[in-house]
C-alpha cells in the first residue's frame, strides 16, 4: 500500500483524492486496499479533530470526500466485503427535538471509526429506542438533544429502557448544545460527551477498541 491516499484524504484534497482512486483502480489496485487507506485517513482526521487541529467543517468535508470515494469503489467490490465492525451503536435525537447536525456528526464519526451505527433519526419516540435495543442487541445508545425539553425526553427514554429490563445491557451517552454533567445526572445517563470524538471514545471504552 502506497499510503498516498491516506495523505491526500487526511489533508482534505478532494479532486486529488478522487483522481488517485480512479487512477489506482485503472492500474489494477485492489479496491479493498484503497478502502483501507481511506479508513486510515479518516482515523487521522478524527485524531486531528480531537487535537483541535481540525474543526467541524473539516469533518464534514472529509465525510463528503469519503462518500465520493466509496461511490467510485462500490461497483468494484465483491459481495460481503463490508469489513469487520467493532460493535453496534444506536443513536437518535430524542422525542420533541428535531435538531440533527450534532447527531449526524456523531453518527458519521462512529461509522468511520468502525462502529455499526443504527441512526433512528430525529424526534424519536421513547419506544423506538427500546425496540431498537431489542432488535439490534446494541450495547451502546447515544441520545442527542439541543433544547431544554430534550432533558425530559432523555430521562423518559432512559426510564423506558430501564422498565423494559434493558438498562443493564446498555451504556447510554447523551450530548447536545446545553448538555452538561447536571443534565447527565438528571437523566440517569452513563456519560455525556462534548463532541463527536468524545462519543467515539466513550463507545470505544464501553465496547472495546
Amino acid at each position: 500500500m502506497s499510503g498516498e491516499l491516506v495523505k491526500l484524504l487526511s489533508d482534505l484534497k478532494e479532486p486529488e483524492s478522487l483522481a488517485f482512486v480512479e487512477k489506482s483502480l485503472g492500474q489494477g489496485v485492489d479496491p479493498m486496499d484503497l478502502l483501507e487507506e481511506a479508513k486510515e485517513a479518516m482515523n487521522i482526521v478524527g485524531q486531528k479533530f480531537a487535537r483541535d487541529e481540525y474543526f467541524i467543517p473539516d469533518l464534514i468535508f472529509s465525510g463528503e470526500i469519503l462518500k465520493s470515494i466509496v461511490k467510485i469503489l462500490e461497483p468494484h467490490f465483491k459481495k460481503d466485503e463490508g469489513g469487520e465492525r467493532r460493535g453496534k451503536v444506536i443513536i437518535g435525537t430524542v422525542a420533541g427535538d428535531i435538531h440533527d447536525i450534532g447527531k449526524d456528526l456523531v453518527a458519521f464519526m462512529l461509522d468511520v471509526n468502525g462502529f455499526e451505527v443504527f441512526d433512528l433519526g430525529i424526534d424519536v419516540p421513547v419506544q423506538e429506542f427500546v425496540d431498537a435495543i431489542k432488535d439490534t442487541g446494541s450495547r451502546v445508545v447515544g441520545l442527542s438533544g439541543f433544547l431544554t425539553l430534550a432533558f425530559d425526553s432523555m430521562k423518559e427514554t432512559i426510564e423506558a429502557i430501564d422498565k423494559a429490563g434493558l438498562r443493564d445491557t446498555v451504556k447510554i451517552m447523551i450530548g447536545g448544545g446545553q448538555i452538561d454533567e447536571q443534565v447527565r445526572d438528571f437523566t440517569g445517563a452513563d456519560a455525556y460527551g462534548r463532541d463527536a470524538m468524545a462519543a467515539v471514545q466513550l463507545a470505544e471504552g464501553w465496547i472495546g477498541g
Binding site: F55, I56, F61, E64, I98, D100, T148, F151, G177, Q182
Partner: protein
Amino acid sequence: MEKKWEEMSADEKQEAQFQKLLEPKDPEGNDLQFQSREAQAAYTTSINRLRDAVQLKNLPDRVPVTIFPNMFPYAYGGITPQEAMYDYDKCVTAYRKFVLDFKPDLPMGAAGPGPGKFFEILDYKLYSWPGHGVAPEHGYQCNEREYMKAEEYDLLIADPSFYFRNFYLPRVFGKLDAWNMLPPLTGILEMYGVAFSFIPFGLPPVQEAYKALFEAGAEALKWAMAVGGIDIELATLGFPSIFGGFSKAPFDVLGDTLRGTKGVMLDMYRQPDKLLKALETITPLMIGLGLGAAQQTGKPFIFMPLHKGADGFLSDEQFRKFYWPSLKQVMLGLIEGGCIPLPAAEGGYNTRLNYLKELPKGKTLWMFDQTDMAVAKETVGDTLCLLGNVPSSLLKLGEPQEVRDYAKKLIDAAGKGGGFIMCNGAFFDEAKPENVHALMDFSKEYGVYK
C-alpha cells in the same frame, strides 16, 4: 443649534439614542404617560443603568439584571407555545405576568413566539411549529435544508433581491411559489416592452400568491399591534423595551437558512471566492437591515444571534477569513449609524475573544452562553459590555441556592467595575420559576456597586 444627525460622531449618535430612550413617546408621538412617579423613576433608572453598563465610562448604581428567555414566559403563564403563537391576547397576558412577576430591568418583548396563523397562511416551510410538525407544548424549530443551491452564488451576488424573491422565498413559503415567475424589476425600462414585464401579474397563480400575501400582511399587523401594545403598556409601568431590530452575521445569513451548515462549510473548500464575494454582497444589506429597523422603532439595540462562528464550528483561520471580517463590518456600520449591536454568541466564544478587541470601546453588548466569563472580562472587559451566562441546565434542574451561588461567582468575576449585565446564557423554554426568582432577586441585591 443642535447638530444634524449626519454631522454627529458615533459617540454623539449613541448618546442621542439613549436620550431618545429616556424620553419615550406613545404611538401618537406624545410624551409617554407613566402610570406612576415610581414607574417613571424605575424606567429612567433602568435606561441610565444600561447606558452606564454599555458605555464603560461611569459605574452603574448596580449590575443590570434581566432575563432573555425563549418560550419560558408562556409556560410560566400557563399556556402552551401553540397558544402563545395563535392567541395573541393569551400571549401578551402571559408575557405581562412574566415581566410583572420577575421584574427584569430590560424585558425582551413578546415577539418571540411569532404569529402562527401568519406562518400558516404563507405555508412557511423553513420551520416546524406547534401543531405543524412539533407538539403543541414544544417551541418552533428550524428545518435546515439547502434552500439556496451550491451553483446559485452568481445569481445571489448579481442581484440579491431578485434572488430572494424569485428563488429563496418561493422555496421557504409554499404560497409564494409563483413568485418564481416574476420579472426582474430592473428590466422595466421604456415604452417599448414595458408591458411584457407586467404579464406575470395577470397570471392566476401569481394573483393567488398576492392574495395570500395581503392576508398574511393583515395577520402580521394584527399580531404587531398586540406585541407592540404590550411593550408600551409595560413601559408606562416602568419596564423599558430597548430592542430596535435585528441583524445577522453575513456568514450566518448563508449558513443558517440559505446554504445550511453543511452547504456553507463545503463552500469554504469548494468555492471560497464565491462565498467571500457573497459575504461582501450581504454585508451592506445587514447594516441596512439594522439601521432601518432602529429608525422605524426609535430604539438602538440591534439583536444579532450568532451561530457558525462559535468555538469548534470553524478553525481560527476559517473564522478569520470567512466569519469575522464581514461580521465586524456589519457591527461597525451599525455603530456608525448610532446603533448598539447586541450579538448573542451561542455556544462558546472562548477562542474568539481576541478578535472582539478590535471593536470600538463601549459600543457593543455581548450575550455569552458557554464562554468563560472571567476570561472574557479579562480579555474584552474594557472593550465591551458582557451579558450572560447563567446555564439553561442550572435554571431547569438546579436548586435556588445553586443559582444564587452561580450568580455570586458571576458578579464577582464579570461585574467588577461595571460593564456587565446579569442574564441567562441561552434562550431557554423551561425553567423552575423559583430559580428564575432566585437569580433576579439575588443579583439585584448582591449586584449593588458600593
